[in-house]
């Protein structure tokens, strides 16, 4: 029931309504009797018609009409035209009663698809209906159906949307239909619409009229964002980053005989597994990464490698892909540089899910060196506990060559974009600055922030231009105040831009990089990235952080760590004092096999009834992971799975040696003893050394 006032009816109205109800009830009873007895006489048909005129939502009556039509058609002297005409008339009456009746609209489609009625009338009828309610989505859906049936051209329908928008720009439905029609024309490479430059400029003009007339009306907002996206997006997949990066030298520390498990990267990470990950990060999820589309040449390569998509739901597409080079059983000579070459996309197969193929064959070369370890075994061994106190971190004055740091400026893959894009975006920036100079509005500020971000992305390929990050950050700060209802949306955006700024160059990264000193006061050589207390609510720029082994994100406002799975070298992670609400939010860590140390103290685990990451984590409820009942029962004993399944799904596949979970509502004794069983590798839980 919509839009009916809440008030007690007057007595006479009540009586009238009650009489109406009685009438409708007997009509329904009569109709159902006819239906159940398959009676299709004229009288019976009239009953169903009367019922539908009063209550077009009675779906069974529409079904009955279809059965009746089939019955009447089977009569040899029937005229299908007349039979169907009666149905169309009834639908029209029903629609006048209730314009939103699914059953009535479908009945009309059903009649028309039988091919006995002229479709000429339909457009006229629709134009009338659509004038009365220009936003009715049933009518728009029906319009698309009729247009296709009568083979009306997309261009003609585009003109219709122009007329509708011309009469009143505040019609989201029309803008939507425009995006559908233009996408079709673009896909068909129709004349005048391909390449997209041909129409985008005009469309920008078009939607400006709407946005600039009334910036608070949302009708043009999403269309404008779509146009920006159409302008800047690359059609083909791009490799945005890799680890190791092109031209880098990776130093591995080995023990004396350099065989087997003594091998480690820098200190610690790969100890035990003897594998070296190679990570490829694309601009969007791609499929088709395998040993033929990505060829690796190196004397370190002894077996065929299997690329793995870092995907949460076992799909074969992912933004980040990884392969593990097994060096564990290899005899490596100290101080020899082993070169590795990776050729990406020289044979076809890497593609977006829309089928667009990677078209920028590129090569990544790096060298692997092995050094003999001079001192004691690496971090994480021998009962030393990782502490995150400030005194354990030593500022870095400058990076060593051996620090395998990566930032946006040494990502070598420069996509070529046409000048047209940057010019178009620059022009939009001018227009929106003009708008803002006259009227301070959120869509003006938000669009400007997005445009400036897009321009930075485009011009990062043409060196020398000044970045607009500071202005964008200011815009998002302003927006948080201007539109407090959506402040956390702007805050998330702000976080992403902050991270982009921090990771843009080696110089910008340096203030956040520290050497970690362990309990014995030895500087370990670990470079720890400390992004603590930055009021980050969202992680990003992972493509520039693939190298990170030790990460301090404490004292932020993170409730999600989406994307962190790309950090395949990560060994120690501090998430304490954030807003992590549930174990399922930690799911990216399931894919980080190198993770040993995790601090999630002082979060909100166990404080919330609603889990907002329940469906972003593989589990039985989303049919992405079977529940390991047997293992659960062995580990948990009589504990009910309905309570602990999330923690089991996450921790059951981690090999942590240290975990801190204090300061969360969930962390009682019962739960701690469960954790100890699920994590047999654990040496430290909270502040306690496990025996």
């Amino acid at each position: 029931m919509h839009g009916r006032p809440r008030k007690a009816l007057k007595q006479e109205d009540e009586a009238a309504l009650s009489a109406k109800a009685e009438k409708l009830r007997s009509l329904q009873a009569l109709f159902l009797a006819n239906h159940h007895n398959s009676i299709y006489s004229k009288e019976a048909l009239d009953v169903s018609a009367k019922l539908l005129e009063v209550n077009p939502e009675c779906y069974t009556a529409w079904n009955y009409r279809k059965l009746a039509v089939q019955h009447l058609l089977s009569n040899s002297d029937s005229d299908p035209h007349v039979i169907f005409q009666d149905e169309l008339k009834l639908v029209e009456i029903a629609l006048r009663k209730n314009f939103k009746s699914y059953g009535a609209w479908h009945h009309r489609k059903w009649v028309l698809s039988k091919g006995h009625s002229s479709i000429g009338h339909e457009m006229r009828l629709l134009n009338g209906f659509q004038k009365a309610d220009p936003r009715n989505f049933h009518a728009w859906n029906y319009r698309r159906f009729v247009a296709e049936l009568m083979k009306r051209s997309d261009e003609d329908e585009l003109k219709y949307t122009e007329e509708v928008i011309g009469a009143n720009f505040s019609n989201y439905s029309a803008w939507h239909n425009r995006s559908v029609l233009l996408s079709n024309l673009l896909k068909k490479k129709a004349e005048g619409y391909f390449p997209k430059e041909n129409f985008l400029e005009e469309e920008f003009e078009h939607v400006h009229n709407a946005i600039f007339t009334d910036p608070d009306d949302q009708s043009g907002w999403f269309y404008h964002l779509w146009l920006i996206d159409q302008t800047v997006k690359t059609d083909a997949p791009l490799l945005v980053s890799s680890w190791p990066s092109h031209g880098s030298r990776i130093t591995l520390i080995g023990d004396n005989n350099l065989r087997g498990c003594g091998l480690s990267l820098l200190n610690g990470t790969l100890l035990g597994t003897g594998t070296l990950p190679i990570i490829l990060d694309f601009n969007q999820a791609v499929e088709g990464i395998n040993s033929s589309t990505v060829a690796i040449e190196s004397e370190l390569l002894k077996e065929e490698l299997i690329w793995k998509p870092l995907s949460m739901n076992n799909s074969n597409t992912a933004k980040v892909w990884v392969v593990y080079l097994n060096l564990g059983n290899m005899e490596l000579l100290p101080s020899k540089a082993y070169s590795v070459q990776i050729k990406v996309g020289h044979s076809k197969g890497i593609a977006f899910s829309n089928g667009n193929h990677y078209s920028d064959p590129s090569q990544i070369s790096f060298k692997v060196l092995v050094q003999t370890a001079s001192a004691e075994p690496a971090e994480g061994q021998g009962g030393k506990r990782t502490t995150w106190k400030d005194t354990n971190f030593h500022k870095i004055d400058h990076f060593q060559e051996s620090d395998a740091i990566l930032s946006a400026d040494n990502n070598p893959h420069i996509p070529t974009t046409s000048n047209w894009c940057s010019e178009e975006i620059a022009e939009e920036i001018t227009k929106f600055r003009d708008l803002l100079s006259e009227y301070d509005c959120k869509i003006g500020k938000l669009t400007l922030a997005r445009l400036l971000t897009a321009l930075d992305l485009l011009s990062s390929h043409h060196d020398g231009r000044k970045s607009n990050t500071e202005e964008v950050l200011q815009l998002y700060t302003d927006l948080m105040k201007l539109d407090p209802t959506h402040s956390l949306y702007y805050k998330d955006k702000h976080s992403l831009i902050s991270l982009k700024r921090i990771t843009s160059t080696r110089d910008s990264l340096l203030p956040y990089c520290y050497h970690y000193k362990d309990a014995t006061e030895t500087i370990t050589g670990y470079v720890c990235l400390r992004l603590q207390s930055l009021s980050l609510s969202r992680m990003g720029s992972i493509e520039n952080l693939l190298w990170v082994q030790m990460l301090d994100l404490s004292h932020n406002e993170l409730q999600s760590i989406e994307g962190l799975e790309g950090m395949q070298l990560l060994s120690c992670l501090n998430l304490s004092h954030n807003k992590i609400r549930s174990f399922t939010a930690l799911v990216p860590l399931k894919l980080v096999k190198s993770l040993k140390v995790l601090n999630i103290s002082n979060n909100e685990l166990g404080s919330h009834l609603i889990d907002t990451t329940r469906y972003l984590c593989p589990s039985p409820v989303s049919h992405t992971e079977e529940f390991a009942w047997e293992r659960f029962e062995i580990l948990a004993g009589s504990v009910s799975a309905t309570n602990f399944w999330e923690a089991f799904l996450i921790f059951g596949s981690l090999e942590l040696t240290e975990l801190n979970i204090t300061g969360n509502a969930v962390a009682d004794e019962n739960f701690r003893s469960f954790l100890v069983k699920v994590l047999p590798t654990l040496k430290w839980l909270d502040d306690e050394e496990l025996s």
Binding site: M1, H2, G3, R4, P5, R6, K7, S18, K20, A21, L24, Q28, L32, H35, H36, E57, C58, Y59, T60, W62, K66, H106, W110, R135, F137, W140, N141, R144, S170, Y172, H176, N177, S179, V180, Q218, S219, W221, F222, Y223, L225, S311, N313, S353, T485, H486, Y489, Q559, L609, I610, T612, R614, Y615, L616, V621, S622, H623, T624, F627, A641, T642
Partner: protein, 313 residues
């Protein structure tokens, strides 16, 4: 701000269940199965499902089932996928799945999948992504999702994705919060949320919150309590629910209560109905309103019911 008038709503829901004589209930007669689901789920969320006569409800429910396995909206009405889901959801609430022939219900749904992966609502062939959700949700509850072509079903849903990140009824159809719930829900249950552009869709969804705090279902439309569910559940599934103001929405829903006679309406001071009462309570549940049990955003059933389905042997 006022408080949730739990007792009054419980009384209202129970009275609607019984009332069959007024005009409203005659007009809604054909969808009583969905009405039962709305009312009973709301009762469960309010902790009062035990006030219902289970046997009576189940025997009525079974009298709506057809030979084909599908359920009608009421006794004597044709089977339809809409009411088949409602019936299965009610059985899940009562933990009474053993009263039906699960394979028969499964067959009914499996036969409604079309070559392109889409689903028809019944034998008359209306296609809509609502029916994709219903089929997927229903089969998942029955532990029979493997009986349909999930890959094709997902592909069809994705073909209904729009420039704003939302979804329509059929390819080219305009985004609408109710439809988005169906599509995002179906993708959630099939583990396919990676195919959703969460930031784009999240922005569209969070912009549904208007000044009064209520949510609308499409741009430039009026706010309405039922969208508290469609929009909130979608935002919850894609982990973007923090992009709206929970406090303002709670206030809007509370303002839509009939504090005298119980029930919740679409907007303040409008007439209440069972549909908006359920969606208001479900919205408050997702907003973690004290005293309301948590609801699962994809299955639209209480979390404990869903956990019972998937995490008990």
């Amino acid at each position: 701000m006022g408080e949730l008038a739990t007792e009054k709503h419980v009384r209202y829901i129970l009275s609607v269940e019984k009332r069959k004589d007024n005009f409203e209930s005659v007009v809604m007669e054909h969808l009583r199965m969905s009405g039962a689901y709305w009312g009973l789920t709301a009762l469960d969320l309010l902790g009062k499902l035990d006030t219902v006569d289970v046997d009576e409800a189940i025997s009525w429910l079974l009298s709506c089932q057809h030979e084909s396995g599908g359920f009608g909206g009421n006794v004597g009405h044709d089977p339809h996928i809409l009411y088949t889901l409602s019936a299965v959801q009610v059985l899940a609430l009562f933990d009474k799945m053993d009263v039906i022939d699960v394979d028969k219900v499964t067959n009914y749904i499996v036969n409604l999948q079309n070559e392109d992966g889409s689903f028809s609502g019944d034998m008359w062939g209306e296609v809509d992504t609502r029916f994709s959700y219903i089929a997927i949700c229903c089969l998942s509850i029955l532990h029979r999702l493997d009986k349909i072509n999930v890959e094709k079903a997902v592909k069809y849903i994705i073909s209904c994705k729009n420039m704003d990140g939302g979804f329509g009824c059929t390819p080219g159809g305009e985004s609408h919060a109710g439809q988005i719930f169906c599509c995002v829900g179906a993708l959630a249950i099939t583990g396919s949320l990676d195919l959703v552009d969460k930031d784009l869709l999240g922005w569209w969804l969070c912009e549904r919150q208007v000044k009064s705090g209520g949510l609308n279902g499409r741009p430039e439309k009026l706010p309405d309590v039922c969208y508290s569910w469609w929009v909130l559940s979608s935002l919850t599934m894609i982990d973007r629910v923090h992009w709206i103001s929970k406090e303002k929405l709670i206030k809007f829903i509370i303002d839509c209560q009939d504090t005298e006679n119980g029930g919740i309406s679409d907007r303040p001071d409008d007439a209440v109905d069972i549909f908006h009462t359920f969606f208001g309570v479900a919205g408050l549940s997702l907003l973690e309103y004290p005293g309301v049990k948590p609801i699962d955003p994809a299955y639209a059933l209480p979390v404990d019911v869903v956990n019972r389905i998937f995490f008990t042997k």
